[in-house]
């Protein structure tokens, strides 16, 4: 059996691929692209909500939000960790993102303008991410799969806290209700776009499915999210932003209106409100931390020299 056949045999047999295993270059590259993009998304995703920690309207909300944003950082770390098993250092990955070569989820290029946006992000953005991540627990690459299992376990509270924020607002004062509706209106469509282009137009989809890096198609996952969200909007008593949304008994799913893909690509291509801000923020933190990292390594070198001296 050639290494390639052996690799495909494992994929077919639902065995996980582990770091030391032989794998096709393209599989490795595809994984590095997807896993690092996922990691960058978690880390950049700290910004829109992080921007509300100091303004959270109650201490309970402040503590929840802080721990939630901290989790995002942790999840970024798990994913960088998984990606590093493929032989790429985190520094390289981060540099690629800062140079705009590697992407992060475009949803984070939308501004979080109001407190209700924090609710909508937890409920819709994390909700969409979870639909995707639940499916990715079965991804073929072992470290990625294990990171996903861990992340899913921790993230279940993220969506709930967001929904809870929305629930309180939607049953609150008229101003709060309006704030909740406005946040839903702005975040609903971009959340649908998080699943990526339609399968027919997705550049990486077919290959990723064949290698079981991805387990379900963009459109199937999106449908799941549309279905679950439709019911949740009813519970909130808000107006659904998709006027064409209609239950299709035959399919057992909701039919929905067309997604405005021009707007999707417009934001991806740099015309979102926060594209430049998110990157600049990340780069600034990184640059401002340079002297700290230098001090650490200087201190370590001095200690090492000292130990060597004492030993001699």
């Amino acid at each position: 059996m050639t290494p390639e056949q052996n690799f495909m045999r494992k994929i077919e047999a639902e065995e996980k691929i582990e770091p030391k295993d032989w794998m096709p270059d393209a599989y490795r590259k595809n994984l590095v692209r997807q896993v690092s993009q996922h990691a960058h998304s978690e880390v950049i995703g700290m910004q829109p909500e992080g921007n509300w920690i100091t303004r959270a309207p109650s201490l309970r909300r402040k503590a929840i939000l802080l721990s939630k944003v901290q989790d995002e950082g942790g999840h970024g770390l798990y994913l960088y960790s998984a990606c590093e098993t493929l032989g790429v250092a985190r520094e390289e990955l981060v540099a690629a993102m800062q140079q705009g070569i590697a992407k992060y989820a475009s949803i984070f290029n939308y501004p979080a303008q109001t407190w209700a946006d924090v609710g909508a992000i937890g409920w819709l953005v994390d909700g969409a991410a979870i639909v995707n991540q639940v499916s990715l627990q079965r991804t073929s690459y072992g470290p990625y799969s294990r990171a996903m299992i861990r992340i899913c376990k921790e993230e279940s509270f993220h969506q709930r806290q967001g929904f809870e924020i929305m629930l309180v607002l939607a049953s609150g004062s008229p101003e709060q209700q309006a704030m909740a509706q406005d946040a839903l209106n702005r975040f609903y469509w971009p959340s649908l776009m998080m699943f990526g282009p339609h399968d027919a137009e997705s550049a990486h989809s077919a290959r990723s499915m064949q290698w079981k890096i991805k387990r379900e198609t963009n459109d199937d996952l999106r449908q799941k999210f549309i279905d679950q969200t439709a019911e949740q909007v009813k519970v909130l008593g808000l107006t659904h932003p998709d006027r064409d949304l209609k239950w299709n008994a035959e399919r057992g799913h909701y039919d929905s209106g067309d997604i405005d893909w021009d707007e999707f690509y417009n934001v991806i291509n740099g015309n979102g409100h926060a594209n430049r801000q998110r990157l600049a923020h990340h780069i600034q933190a990184h640059e401002e931390g340079a002297w700290v990292r230098e001090a650490m390594s200087a201190y370590k070198a001095r200690r090492k020299a000292l130990t060597a001296q004492q030993a001699a």
């Binding site: 582990e18 032989w22 901290q70 989790d71 770390l77 520094e91 294990r146 390594s297």
Partner: protein
């Protein structure tokens, strides 16, 4: 290499009596800092009672290419497994 901290692998013992289990990795300057960050990164929900950290570079791993010579020889020793032995009905547990 001023911008690159060392990579450490993290192992967590979830409860007394269990093995330490590999949970992931992180970057740190030294073992001490790696332990502290491991606590912040991997036990935010009280997932552990004990943590090990090991420099990733210090781990020696078996290779997939070796795996036949490494693991196959055990395949023909079924007598090392308890299920290999048929016990009389009368002996319920052994």
């Amino acid at each position: 290499m001023k911008d690159q901290l060392d990579l450490f692998e993290v192992f967590v013992r979830a409860r007394r009596g269990l093995d330490h289990k590999h949970v992931g990795s992180l970057h740190a300057e030294d073992h001490e800092q790696a332990l502290e960050y491991a606590r912040d990164v991997y036990t935010r929900r009280s997932e552990g009672v004990s943590i090990w950290v090991v420099r990733s570079a210090d781990i020696c791993a078996s290779q997939e290419d070796d795996s036949e010579s490494f693991f196959d020889p055990s395949d023909d020793k079924p007598y090392r497994h308890a299920t290999y032995y048929q016990l009389p009905e009368a002996v319920k547990n052994m």
